[in-house]
Amino acid sequence: MTTKPLLEVNGLKKYFDIKGGVFGRKVGEVKAVDDVSFKVMKGEIVGIVGESGCGKSTTGKSILRLIEPTEGEVKFEDKDITNLSFEEMRKLRKDMQIIFQDPYASLNPRHTVEKIVGEPLLVHGMNSADDRKKKVRELLEVVGLREYHASRYPHQFSGGQRQRIGIARALANNPKMIICDEPVSALDVSVQSQILNLMEELRTEFNLTYVFIAHDLSVVKHISDRVGVMYLGRMVEMTTKEKLFEDPKHPYTQALMSAVPVPDPDAKKERVILQGDVPSPSNPPSGCAFHTRCPRVMDVCKEVRPEFREIEDEHYVACHLYE
């Protein structure tokens, strides 16, 4: 693992406008991502976990500028990509890919697998149909599909197979980094492991870097090198997976881990059941966003937003407990 970051996210923000009122003007904003910073080293897998709606996908899509970030800087190979022109960005997409959560929605239902996987090749300059055909076969092989699958349509595949097609498409132009937005959460358990294994294999084979988004802690833990935990649009903790799972610092991380049901009847664990609901990102609590549910809340938490700081080596936490 090199020490050079492939991707650097600094102070990323994405606010969605809420329209309403008499004139359909902006009446508020959803702070989907609110000041998130992290680095991803070359060849590394960084997992991001968090509950639904905490801004994981928005982070992922903002990095690729599939939605325009409101603020912040995204550096890819030391180049700030937030200001690239449409055409420059389009070229860069060769190197940065994404795999989506929903294997049903992310493939164009009217295209054959051949076309789905071949299209990125075409738009990035592989004009010969024969070359493309060959490459598509190769890619299908790589993701564990057969050659004859190429002429089929997405609806003729199972969820796992579809996800393989999505992966093949992402791999088409030999990207350097892939953002995986919950690639296995829609899959059946028995198929999930197939995909996770495949992704690990590919990573070594193609020397890929993943940003792996998931809400399932065990999956993230299984695959990632480092893990970030998000809550209400903010990164609350980030460190290597060993440290995180052995010694979670942030009270939210602790609660999250205790809440994950473990398929082991003997696992005796101390349960921290959080009270209340996740607040709305359109109206996040002041100070630390978690203070409304935090079992260890202090006065300062309500006022001051804790800084996301490195409190130990490679262990970042945003919590007043560690100041």
């Binding site: 358990v189 609660a255 999250l256 049901p261 082991d264 609901d277």
Partner: protein, 338 residues
């Protein structure tokens, strides 16, 4: 063990579609005891929901229909019960909550209106009393400001709150059996923990039997006593939680459990069951799991295995348990459950 309150016997529920007949539930048998929490696990499409809907006689019809089999509830075969009788039972004796708290409440009526209904259908009480009861139920499931929430519309509540409302609604008439079809799948883990906690409490307090349908073995481990594993419309294994999770017998269950990433252990490579879940209605000869099974042999592709009883309250649908095959546990007597 206490008395059996609900017993399914060779239940067959089929869908008659343009593409042919789909045996979504294909001979399912199991029973539920008073005050027990039974989990049904299985992958998507294996027939869990259809099984539970069949019990309630709520299978969408057309195209679905209970083709044969018995659903014995307190010595009454619900499969043959009239719609009128079922109306008495639904909500009152057997209640059900569904996976999607977001869509399971009518968006155009207030929470109170929908809760009252559950009470008014079955009890001769005034509207006022019903409302009072409704507020109590909301309190019971831990909804704060219950007397305000009762006049809210569903869209004003969060997913977790709605699922609580659903539970309150189901519990309103103190049912004997509560069927929960993936009640937490759509919820976040922290909220899921709250809901599971709640269900556990209700089960303890009211002694309600719960059938909990889920595909998450973790959830099963959290609250179930007994587990039924389904695959492709059939029960493939049954046993206590500990039996199933620690000592699975059916190759499918084994594979399923091995393929889970473990949060407290680190392993390099996950086990994975090869192949995919068969599409219902496809060629059904032999054991449904045979094409993906590492132990499969010729017979598995020819004959349908039966549900072998391999120990007290322990069943598995695999020829490996057949004494003729010299199965892995041939010391157990292999009686066949009807």
């Amino acid at each position: 063990m206490s008395d059996v309150i609900l017993e399914l016997n060779e239940l067959h529920t089929h869908f008659f579609t343009d593409d042919g007949e789909i045996p979504a539930v294909d001979g399912v048998s199991f029973n539920v005891h008073k005050g027990e929490v039974v989990g049904i696990v299985g992958e998507s499409g294996c027939g869990k929901s259809v099984t539970s809907l069949s019990i309630m006689q709520l299978v969408p019809s057309p195209p679905g229909r209970i083709v044969s089999g018995e659903i014995n509830y307190k010595n009454e075969n619900l499969a043959k019960a009239s719609e009128k009788r079922m109306r008495k039972i639904r909500g009152n004796e057997i209640a059900m909550i569904f996976q999607e708290p977001m869509t399971s409440l009518n968006p155009l009526f207030t929470i109170g209106n929908q809760l009252n209904e559950a009470i008014l259908f079955h009890e001769k009480v005034s509207k006022k009393q019903a409302r009072k009861r409704s507020i109590e139920m909301l309190d019971l499931v831990g909804i704060p400001r219950s007397n305000e929430v009762i006049d809210d519309y569903p869209h004003q509540l969060s997913g977790g709150m709605r699922q609580r409302v659903m539970i309150a609604m189901a519990m309103a008439c103190n049912p004997e059996v509560l069927i929960a079809d993936e009640p937490t799948t759509a919820l976040d883990v922290t909220i899921q923990a709250q809901i599971l906690d709640l269900m556990r409490d209700l089960n303890k307090e009211k002694d309600t039997s719960i059938i909990l349908i889920t595909h998450d073995l973790g959830v099963v481990a959290e609250i179930c006593e007994r587990v039924i594993v389904m695959y492709s419309g059939q029960v493939v294994e049954e046993g206590t939680v500990r039996d199933i999770l620690k000592d699975p017998q059916h190759p499918y269950s084994q594979g399923l459990i091995r393929s889970l990433p473990k949060i407290h252990e680190t392993e390099q490579k996950l086990y994975s069951i090869p192949g995919t879940v068969p599409k219902p209605g496809m060629n059904m000869k032999g054991c449904r799991f045979a094409p993906r099974c590492p132990h499969a042999f010729d017979r598995c592709f020819q004959e349908d295995p039966e549900l072998y009883s391999i120990a007290e309250g322990r069943y598995s649908r695999c020829f490996l348990h057949d004494s003729e095959e010299g199965g892995i546990r041939d010391d157990y007597e292999t009686t066949i459950r009807s």
